[in-house]
Every structure is written in C-alpha cells, then in structure tokens.
C-alpha cells in the first residue's frame, strides 16, 4: 500500500486527444484530469476502444500520426509533455524516464535480432557506454527479470523463447534504462494463468526494487485486484470513476463500474444468463451530451442525457462522474448482487478456507 505517499509524479490536466480518421475528427480522450502518485500502481480498466491505451500513449508521444493532443497538459518533471512537438524532445523521456511493456510479446520483439541485442539497443541509445559494459548490464537485466542462464539466452532469438519468457524479455527492454514510470499495456493478456501470475509477481518485485510507478492498462479485473493500489475506470474517453482498489471493488458508485463488475463470470449463476451491458459504446465522432454511459444504462436519470456530470467526491481518494452522487438525485441503489459482492465473496472465501483446513 502506497497510500501515504502522495507525491505527484505526473499530472494530467483536461487532456483532450483527437484523431483524424478519413476526414472526420474523432475525440478519443474527452478532458481527463488525473494525478499519478510516485511509487503507486494505478490500473486503468475499460473496454477496448475506451481510450485507455491512447491515454497512456500520450505520455510517451506515441500517438499515431493522425492523432494529436488538442488541449490540456501533461506535467512531468517540470515539463509539459503535451507541448512537445519534435522527436528530439521526446528522446529524453521515452524509454528513459517513461517506458512501456506491450501486450503481445509475439509481435513486439524483432524476430531477426538476438534477444540480447534488442535489450542492449535500448540501453546504448540512452547511455554512452562501451560494448562490454552494455553487455554486462544486459546480462544483469536478464537475470533481473528471472531468465535463467543469461549468458546462453543472450545469444538466442525470440522464437527460442516461450511466451512467458518473451514477455520477460519485453519487460527487460522496458527496464533497460530504469525508468521512473512503467506503462504496462495488457501485460499478461496473451499469457497462461500460471505464467500470468508469475509475470505479475515479477512486476511487483521490480517495482519494489526500483521504486517504480506502474500504470497497468487492462480489462482483466482479476489482474487489477492483484496488483493495483488505485483503479481508474475509463469509458468513452473519460475516467468515470477513480479510487483505491478496495473502494472501486467493494463500493463502486458509477453505473458503468456496476455493469462491468456484474458481467464477470465469477459472479454469475450457472444456467442463468450472465449480466451483459446492452448496446454499444458511443460513437466518438459525435459530440457526447450528458453522461456517455446513459444510453446503455437502463436506470439513467433524465439529467444524464442533458448535462455531463462533474466528479463527486465519495472519499478523499474516491470520486466518480455520475449524477447519482448529487444530493438532489433520487436514491438509485446499485444492483443487488453488486451490493452483495462483499458478502458473496466472503462466503466463497470462507468455504475455500474451511476446505483448506480440512485438507
């Protein structure tokens, strides 16, 4: 738990990101403000297309050519990253201070280059060192990310590695310059459950060792529950709810968070339909009026279609963008099984514990 540390390492203010697609302008990020605390693990969850990847790519200047930061700022280390225009400016940040672990280790490694060379490449780009030194550092890195026999592995090519090992290599590349912020974009989606657990352990170990700040981008709420200190729920280019891990899981306030949690098979009753969110996410080519989730929310209020809700504070660390938290709004209770989440889970857990004891 890193709740005591409140040093802000990166501050996003009213960020708007737009894309030009076939002559039409799409607003991918609709005015996000957020603080990233030093040393924390922040998980950004949301459906694909909610803008979670785009949001984090702006921290590294990795937007596609047809995208741009329209307004807002990203303060980091006394600079405004959103104002960066040239590649030259980014070179001191990207890979060095802020690094990224990509989703699919099958596609994010170069199949024609040995693994050692690929890790070294990242290191020598930012540091003037001799070849021998660079190799030494690379071997250390390989050992750091838990790859046995680094000497032998150094010369091997990605196809000689299993999926989990490849992801370790990708992490080693990101860690090459010991960044301050590590962005993990779906780091375990392409991996097996057993391997997934190991990679998460590795990331947590690296975080402790180097005092990293990690942003996890994921849609797997199981992963989130495991690693996150804080959770930001994104929907249609906006953070609709943000709070500590416990607050978002056990006391969610936004109807979208309710829906997201309800659709988990772990909470489903066998033989019955799983809760599924009706409709589709809004078209970001059009301006969105009111609460973006309102059209899919069966119990939306009238005001949800008219005015965009501001953030309402639930606790100092927990806020949500929904009119339901306005004192004037009627009392809309979350769905029954959301209210029961804690007790259902408690029950299941006690069962499990009892079993463990009897064994």
């Amino acid at each position: 738990m890193h709740e005591k540390k409140q040093d802000v390492i990166l501050r996003v203010k009213d960020l708007v990101v737009k894309f030009n697609l076939r002559g039409q302008v799409l607003t991918a990020i609709r005015g996000i403000s957020m603080d990233l605390h030093k040393g924390e693990s922040l998980a950004i969850v949301g459906e694909s297309g909610s803008g979670k990847s785009v949001f984090c790519k702006t921290f590294m200047g990795l937007l596609d050519n047809n995208g741009w930061v329209d307004s807002g700022s990203i303060e980091y280390d006394g600079q405004d990253l959103a104002a960066f225009k040239k590649e030259k400016e980014w070179i001191h940040i990207r890979g060095k201070k802020i690094a990224m672990v990509f989703q699919d280790p099958m596609t994010s490694l170069n199949p024609l280059k040995s693994v050692g060379k690929q890790i070294q490449e990242a290191f020598t780009l930012h540091n003037k060192v001799s070849a021998a030194e660079a190799k030494q550092r690379t071997l250390e890195l390989l050992a750091d990310v838990g790859i046995p026999e680094p000497e032998r592995r150094y010369k091997q090519y990605p196809h000689e590695f299993s999926g989990g090992m490849r992801q370790r290599v990708v992490i080693a590349i990101a860690m090459a310059c010991v960044p301050e912020i590590l962005i993990c974009d779906e780091p375990t989606t392409a991996l097996d459950v057993t391997i997934q657990a190991q990679i998460l352990e590795l990331l947590k170990a690296l975080q402790r060792k180097y005092g990293l700040t990690i942003i996890y981008i994921t849609h797997d709420l199981g992963v989130v529950a495991n690693v996150a200190d804080r959770i930001a729920v994104m929907y249609a280019g906006d953070i609709v709810e943000i709070g500590s891990c416990d607050e978002v899981f056990y006391d969610p306030k936004h109807p979208y968070t309710w829906a997201l949690l309800s659709s988990l098979p772990q909470l489903g009753v066998k033989g019955e339909d799983l809760y599924s969110i009706q409709g589709t996410p809004p078209n970001l080519f059009h301006e969105i009026h009111g609460d973006a989730f309102a059209p899919r929310n069966p119990r939306a209020l009238k005001v949800d279609f008219v005015a965009r809700p501001p953030y309402f504070e639930v606790s100092p660390t927990h806020k949500a963008r929904t009119w339901l938290l306005d004192p004037r709004s009627p009392n809309v209770e979350p769905p029954e099984h959301i209210k029961n989440i804690r007790s259902i889970r408690k029950m299941k857990k006690e069962d499990a514990v009892n079993e463990q004891i009897t064994r």
């Binding site: 459906e47 297309g49 459950v193 057993t194 199981g222 416990d246 899981f249 098979p265 799983l274």
Partner: protein
C-alpha cells in the same frame, strides 16, 4: 448439476498425436480418452502447449492422429473414412476459433465468409437460398442481415466473433468445438458471447467442446471439465466437484492461479506451484482411475490412496 449423462456423442479413445518425423518426434497428445455426452458442455483446460487445441483439431480431422480413434455417433471418424461420412462430419462438427481478428478472411465479405461452408457441402442450394440462410444465421447471433455485404474490418471484436459463430451455425452442426472463443474479447463482450453460446445450446441442443485456459469462465459454462497437462489428461470431473475437491497437484496449481476480481483474496493469494518431479512413477506407474463416481484422476497407487483420504476428510 449432474445432468443425466445420456447418450455418448463423441468418444475419444486412446488418442495420440505426434508431430515431426521419426528422429525429431514430438508427442503432443498421449493416450487421451474421454466421452462427450449429447447436449453437454465439456471443457478442456490446460496451459498453452498442453495439447488442448491439438485434441480439438484431431477430432475435427485437421491434425492426423498417430494412434487411437474417435467415435462419433457410434461411427469411427478418425483415419480413413468414406466420402459420405467425411461430408457428414464436415457438416455436423464445426469449430469456432479463438481470435476473431485472425480467423476471418480480410478480403471476403461477411456473406461469403458465412456461406463458404454451405457452398461446399450443399451445392444444391441456389444463390437466393444461401443468402436467406446467411441472413437467418446473422440474425440468430444478433447481427443485422445487411452486414452481409460488409468486410470483417468494419466490425468490432465481439461482432467478428459472432460472425465466426454464424459461420459454424449455418452448417446446422450438432457438435461445436469452441477453441478459446472468448479469450480475445473484452469483459463485457465476453458475457454477450457466453450468453449467446448457452442460448444456442438450449435452442438447438448443441454439444460443445469448450477449450480454454480461463478456469473462471469454464466454471460458469461447463458441465464437466478435463484438465490436461503436457498432452496427458490428469483429472476429469463434474465442474463443481473439480472446484471443490481438486486432487491432482497440477489442477490445484491451476486453480490457485485463477485471478479473482477480489482485492482481499488476491492480496492474500498463495500460489501453488506444480512440480512434475514430485511424482514417483518409476516403479509404480500412474493409472487413470475413477476415484469417485464421475471423477477421474491420473495417479499411482500411493497417490490414489492419498487422494481417497482427502476425499473422505
């Protein structure tokens, strides 16, 4: 939960699949046997490289088997079979693939993608009849018939997976092999596709072989689950029994690794690591044993004793 286990639809007996030539042989599936009953959802779970997909592909005759046989409705469908039987199998057993981004032909319109199988198996149909069947299949999976004239890239992941499902439904199959049908999808879309699959099962009496690595989804959808490790099925049981009394150490490791959307238990999670060297199979060979009704496990005599003791406790 125990549906009356009626008629056996598919029976896999002693399946072995090998890849590579004699010198460089790799046995992907070793002596796998199981029955799938009509109308049930049978789950096959294991990590990548365990051979679960290979089993599915061997049943549908994509991968040749080096030993054993597959019986479908009392007829052997592995090895050399007659042309008519081949046609029947092609029509009645269908597959849904994992990645809807990769499994649809990017250059073909939805219309063609969905009806391609029909063109081969039902040459007697006219173009109009086919078009009608396509729109019916699309409606059935919750897509609009006018989507038929679009290309795959115009669809989202969930919609693409629905196209994949429509493509197998149009053949009017009885048995569907779903190879990780939802692992590439978003949480909220997953629920939709799972609901669609179970609705289709109810309406059409389909039988599923559900291949996945995600046990939390398996628990929700499967009637029985087989756990496979390195080409060998180590445990097979009714779903709830498996979750209540996992016996084989590999099953236990797999269950302990499931990520739960619950911070409290996640942060106190104890990972069980499976170490294959813990078995002492040199003299005492493991046997496939029914340890309680409907619950099979692979183990040698000494291990079975322990498992029995655990069940009694």
């Amino acid at each position: 939960m125990s549906k009356s286990l009626g008629e056996v639809l598919v029976s896999v007996r002693n399946m072995e699949v090998t890849f590579g030539s004699r010198r460089n042989k790799f046995v992907a599936v070793k002596g796998v046997s199981f029955d799938i009953y009509k109308g049930e959802t049978f789950g096959l779970v294991g990590e990548s490289g365990s051979g679960k997909t290979t089993i599915g592909r061997a049943i549908i005759r994509i991968n040749p088997m080096s030993d054993g046989e597959v019986i479908y409705k009392g007829q052997r469908i592995s090895g050399k079979i007659s042309k008519e039987l081949d046609k029947k199998v092609t029509q009645q057993i269908q597959m849904i693939f994992q990645d809807p981004m990769a499994s649809l032909n990017e250059r073909a319109k939805v219309d063609y993608i969905v009806s391609e199988g029909l063109i081969n198996v039902r040459p007697d149909l006219t173009r109009e009849q086919r078009a009608e069947m396509v729109s019916k299949a699309l409606l059935e999976v919750g897509l609009l018939p006018e989507f038929a004239s679009r290309f795959p890239h115009e669809f989202s992941g969930g919609q693409r997976q629905r196209i994949g499902i429509a493509r197998s439904l149009i053949m009017e199959p009885e048995f569907i092999i779903a190879d990780e049908p939802i692992s590439a999808l978003d949480v909220s879309i997953r629920a939709q596709v799972l609901n669609l699959l179970s609705r289709l099962q109810k309406e059409r009496g389909l039988t599923y072989l559900f291949i996945a690595h995600d046990l939390s989804v398996m628990r929700f959808i499967c009637d029985r689950i087989a756990v496979i490790h390195k080409g060998v099925i180590v445990e097979l049981s009714e779903t709830e029994k498996l979750f209540e009394h996992p016996l084989h150490p590999y099953t236990r490791a797999l269950l302990s690794a499931i990520p739960l959307p619950d911070p409290d238990s996640e942060k106190r999670k104890i990972l069980e690591i499976y170490d294959p060297t813990q078995h002492h199979y040199e003299t005492d060979k493991p046997v496939w044993t029914e340890i309680e009704p409907g619950h099979f496990v692979m183990g040698n005599q000494e291990e079975l004793e322990r498992y029995r003791a655990r069940l009694q406790a």
